[in-house]
């Protein structure tokens, strides 16, 4: 009986001393953290993808609170949570929400196995960065997609998958959060973050080849030859041709699709538009209301 | 992997001759069980497309495990040992190349702790047709432990002489032990083969044997109840451990200097555990302990970098 009593007393005393020490430490060494940071963190998706440009969601919460104190949330956007989340955060912090358009990752290459013949077999490490450092790749186009899936491996949202038949990655626009990881991973800067567009409709040049027209046509059937017809045709001045390659500025494009019709090599792609009424002159449009981006296969 | 298996053949064949059908059953069961478990885990738990049983590592683990067991061990215990060795010692860490501890030793020590009675009954050589009913006797290690406990030097007179320990003592009443430790000469032949084929380098086996020899020589000179160094080196699983178990690629350090540190530490630990520990055999535990230190050794002992050696004058 005695030994039990002594044990209880000793342990009890240790417990009390420990409690006092812990209490004193928690008071003396307390770090003040703005409680709003924790509240904002709760509202953020918690994916820690880095798409906002900060280290994880806690870094973003910190930046948002600092921004609120400075008076504006300009430049701060969580692409994963989107407008909904930003709205909730703005309400919590008592601020006006910064306006931003939904973006999506766009793979600007249509050099599928059918369009771009294979001229060599690459037997090295199957990673786009390694293949890019080794040479032009397995085709004659030194700018096109290498098809090893560095972009697929880096996506945290399972939004980009390599199509086994075409060899080109395809973005699922419902899952894509435009965090930009795939664009950074691509060694050839083929993937670009562009505006999603109304009803998901967008027009872009599906080629980044900077070789002269004759050379790029030999490498790939649907390459941009830099002829400039699209630049002349565009009524909004959204297209520029530089280094034998055309580029559509998504901020100016009004989706009229005149460039799509005029392109001689069908390098310009329009996505999510309804089926053409007159089949003979609107060969390029895709009929796609499902939300999955499709590529042309000529 | 297959080179090591060839190097083990002399020791294996000699052991079969000495221990008879029991040893064949033990080794065959061990190999079969190890291969089976690796195949099953790969196929059903990990769902790998390519099964790794053909690279020879499961078979090697099986043979080494078998050679660490007494030849009268029942089959069901061997199978449990193989499950431990492959399942826990190798596959949980990620398969080939990822394990921290030597799988055969993990299996052996698990069995030693779980089935101490069966694992410490040593059949005496020369009984060809007996398996689980073989007559058992004391091993040289047990005799040396007894001498230390009693403090009586005359106990050591029961030990076989060094020459017969090298060749394997054939007489009833001497030279009992695990299947693999019976014939030092066959193991040395295996070492010579592996050195010739450049499968392993000399650092680990020689440093272990040399350290044990020197340490036990010092002890023997200080107090004769400790056996003489030649007997110590040839007894127990020291030769088998130094040549085949400690030199396992995956669990040993990557640089020659690191390997020497590893070997010397194993030698010291073996002698300490043998003389002052609870178990008569210290080799398996010493190797397992040093396996845990291998990542640390790899981290701090780096190869000599080009440009760091002092420069000579132009010759």
């Amino acid at each position: 009986m005695n030994s039990i009593l002594i044990s209880v007393l000793v342990l009890g005393a240790i417990g009390v001393i420990a409690a006092i020490v812990l209490f004193a430490c928690s008071k003396k060494f307390a770090v003040f953290e703005d409680p709003r940071i924790g509240q904002v963190s709760e509202l953020l998706p918690g994916a820690n993808c880095g798409g906002c440009g900060f280290p994880g969601c806690s870094g973003m919460a910190d930046a948002l609170v600092k921004g609120a104190d400075k008076g504006s949330l300009e430049g701060l956007n969580c692409p994963v949570g989107g407008a909904e989340t930003m709205g909730k955060v703005a309400d919590l912090l008592g601020m006006a929400i910064a306006n931003s358009e939904p973006m999506v990752a766009v793979v600007r290459c249509n050099g599928t196995c059918a369009n771009r013949p294979q001229i060599a077999e690459y037997a090295g490490l199957r990673a786009c960065s390694a293949m890019h450092a080794c040479g032009a790749g397995e085709t004659a186009c030194g700018y096109g997609c290498l098809g090893c899936g560095d972009c697929v491996n880096v996506c945290q949202f399972d939004a980009i998958q390599l199509n086994a038949e075409t060899g080109i990655p395809e973005v699922d626009e419902n899952k894509c959060t435009a965090c930009g990881a795939c664009a950074k991973a691509c060694p050839r800067n083929i993937i670009e973050l562009r505006k999603k567009g109304p009803k998901g409709r967008r027009v872009f040049v599906s080629c980044v080849n900077k070789d002269k027209g004759a050379v790029s046509m030999k490498a790939c059937k649907v390459s941009c030859i830099g002829c400039g017809k699209c630049e002349k045709e565009c009524p909004f001045g959204a297209i520029t041709v530089e280094n034998n390659c055309s580029y559509i500025d998504f901020k100016r494009c009004r989706l009229c699709k005149k460039c799509v019709a005029i392109c001689p090599t069908k390098a310009i792609v329009a996505v999510n538009f309804p089926e053409a009424k007159k089949p003979e002159n609107k060969v390029n449009e895709t009929n796609n209301n499902e939300g999955k981006e499709e590529k042309h296969e000529d | 992997m297959y080179g090591v298996l060839i190097a083990l053949l002399p020791a294996l064949l000699v052991s079969f001759i000495y221990f008879g059908i029991g040893s064949v059953i033990v080794c065959a069961t061990s190999v079969a069980a190890c291969i089976f478990f690796e195949w099953a885990i790969n196929k059903y738990m990990l769902k790998n497309e390519r099964n790794t049983i053909l690279d020879g590592s499961a078979a090697l683990t099986g043979i080494l495990l078998g050679m660490n067991l007494p030849s009268n061990l029942p089959i069901w215990i061997i199978i449990i040992g193989a499950l431990f060795a492959i399942g826990i010692g190798k596959m949980t860490f990620g398969g080939l190349g990822q394990n921290i501890f030597n799988p055969a030793l993990v299996g052996r020590c698990a069995l030693l702790v779980a089935f101490p009675a069966q694992m410490t009954s040593w059949p005496v050589p020369g009984q060809w047709m007996s398996y689980t009913d073989a007559e058992t006797g004391a091993t040289p290690l047990a005799i040396m432990k007894q001498a230390i406990k009693n403090g009586d030097v005359s106990t050591l007179n029961e030990l076989p002489d060094a020459f017969s320990m090298l060749l394997g003592d054939y007489s009833i009443g001497g030279g009992a032990g695990t299947i693999g430790e019976i014939c030092g000469l066959a193991l040395i032949a295996g070492l010579a083969f592996m050195l010739w084929r450049k499968i392993i380098t000399w650092h680990i086996p020689i440093s272990i044997i040399a350290t044990v020899f020197v340490f036990s020589a010092l002890l023997h000179l200080a107090n004769p109840i400790y056996a003489d160094p030649t007997t110590v080196v040839l007894s127990g699983g020291l030769m088998l451990g130094a040549i085949f178990m400690a030199t396992d690629y995956v669990t040993s350090p990557m640089t020659p200097k690191g390997q020497l540190i590893y070997g010397i530490s194993i030698g010291i630990l073996t002698v300490i555990i043998r003389n002052w520990g609870a178990y008569p055999e210290g080799m398996s535990f010493a190797i397992l302990i040093m396996n845990a230190f291998t990542p640390l050794i790899n981290n701090y002992v780096k190869p000599v970098r080009f440009g760091e050696t002092p420069n000579n004058k132009a010759s």
Binding site: I119, A120, E121, A123, G124, L125, A127, S129, A130, A133, C134, G135, A136, E138, A140, G142, D211, K212, V215 | D55, S57, G95, L96, G97, Q98, Y249, V250, M254, T255, P256, K302, P303, V304, R305, F306, G307, E308, T309, N311, N312, K313, A314, S315
Partner: protein, 462 residues
């Protein structure tokens, strides 16, 4: 144990190294002069440093030895036409990097040389030319566009003017040719030994040193004997001390740092240190010959000795080829591309660059065109690393390739820098010895280029 290599009779470098099969198929094939191509392609970037700037236009007529592109900066070199004809266009062409790069393309007409070039075969000696001061020699080398002929392509004149912190003590001629298959340097030594020794003397004079070494591997006994004999007579009564150093056969003995270690026993510290920091200037034997031609014959660099070889090739040969000749011409001269899958390499099988086109031209650094058959070149299936440490034993820089490859795979760039990944010379010894066929060098290359990019951006931020 390492000290044994130092005291052995035939020297070699201290750490690591491997012994691939020699395959010197064209060892005894005398050099033939390659036929002139129909069209010569001159990529503007054939050397380390800024690309050259073209000074000719479409339609211009050029002769052999006409300047067609001037140096694009300090670390750069001019390019001279190796053919006479008309400039067809200034366009892009596939070069040894595998990509289309700017190049000058010339249609070949005839074989008219510039008058300033001395085409005689008379051996000019340094002692007969008192006007050749060290500065004059360097100037002539610079004007002639001589770059490293061993493959790297570093402008030679820069090596001869070391930075003020380093003092040159000797010139080492790299005649090692440690890569399998390649025999161009060996044939050059056998056929132009006198000129090479004059070239060496010019290099020693320009660098203001009196010690010279010629490192040759023991698999070329005839060359060792020939050059030793000629050295004895050529430098008998001069102030220069030139020794032919036979070296043990071991790859990568031809690496600058390994050669300096083998010949004079000094190890160059980690980058940014270079061999001249331990007193050695290393030049390829082909560069020594080019220096002779540039200084004594006023002949700019436009042709070179190249081996075209491969087990399946009908006639592995050595050529004296004009730069700009497409590889396919040489391959045709050797009997054509073999049947089946082939791997075309600019260089040797260890450090050569795999190409996807036979139209790639011979450039200043193309010492060989190697054709490996599909079964020889194809990699075996990768297996997990069994930590056998064979790569650690093979690495000539004392690194741990298994660790660097793993760290690069996991993209841990800080740890990669700590483990000295920038010291890697990309020789491929680790990947060659790995029994599990792991692509060690592929990962390490990725890691090294990323870490070097990080270091560069750190330096520019400061």
């Amino acid at each position: 144990m390492k000290e044994r290599r130092r005291s052995m009779k035939i020297k070699t470098f201290m750490i690591g190294g491997i012994h691939p099969e020699e395959n010197k198929l064209s060892h005894d094939v005398a050099t033939q002069v390659a036929a002139l191509p129909q069209q010569a392609i001159f990529p503007l970037s054939q050397h380390i440093g800024a690309p050259a700037k073209p000074i000719v236009n479409k339609g211009d007529k050029v002769k052999v030895g006409t300047l067609i592109a001037e140096a694009g900066g300090f670390v750069s070199a001019p390019i001279y036409s190796s053919v006479s004809g008309t400039v067809f266009k200034i366009d892009t062409a596939i070069d040894a990097t595998g990509y289309r790069k700017p190049a000058i393309i010339i249609n070949v007409e005839g074989d008219e040389w510039e008058e300033s070039i001395d085409r005689s075969t008379k051996l000019e000696l340094v002692k007969d030319h008192p006007e050749l001061t060290p500065e004059e020699i360097v100037e002539r080398i610079k004007t002639a566009g001589v770059t490293g002929m061993g493959g790297a392509g570093f402008p030679t004149f820069i090596k001869l003017c070391p930075p003020p912190t380093a003092k040159a003590e000797c010139v080492i001629i790299n005649a090692v040719e440690c890569e399998p298959y390649i025999t161009a340097d060996y044939r050059l030594m056998m056929e132009k030994s006198d000129e090479i020794l004059v070239g060496l003397e010019l290099l020693m004079k320009a660098a203001k040193v009196s010690n010279g070494y010629i490192g040759i591997e023991t698999n070329k006994p005839a060359a060792i004997e020939l050059l030793s004999r000629k050295c004895a007579t050529a430098f008998a009564n001069s102030d220069y001390q030139v020794t032919v150093v036979p070296l043990q056969q071991r790859y990568p003995q031809g690496g600058e740092k390994q050669l300096v270690d083998a010949v004079i026993g000094r190890q160059v510290p980690a980058p940014p240190a270079i061999p001249v920091n331990v007193g050695a200037i290393v030049q390829n034997v082909g560069t020594a010959y080019a220096v002779y031609e540039a200084v004594m014959k006023r002949k700019p660099l436009f042709e070179r000795y190249t081996t075209v070889t491969g087990k399946k090739l009908q006639k592995p040969s050595n050529f004296l080829v004009r730069m700009g000749t497409p590889m396919k011409d040489l391959i045709e001269a050797c009997g054509g591309m073999p049947e089946g899958d082939n791997k075309l390499l600019a260089g040797g099988p260890m450090m050569g660059k795999a190409l996807t086109s036979v139209d790639v031209p011979i450039c200043k650094g193309t010492n060989s065109v190697t054709i490996l058959s599909g079964c020889e070149a194809r990699r075996q299936e990768q297996q997990p690393c069994i930590r056998c440490a064979k790569c650690v034993g093979a690495c000539p820089m004392g690194l741990e390739p298994y660790l660097l490859a793993k760290i690069s795979e996991l993209k841990n760039w800080e740890k990669a820098e700590q483990e000295e990944i920038v010291s890697c010379i990309e020789c491929g010894s680790c990947q060659f010895t790995c029994p599990a066929h792991r692509p060690l060098l592929d990962y390490i290359r990725q890691g090294k280029s990323t870490v070097m990019g990080i270091i560069r951006s750190r330096a520019t931020k400061k």
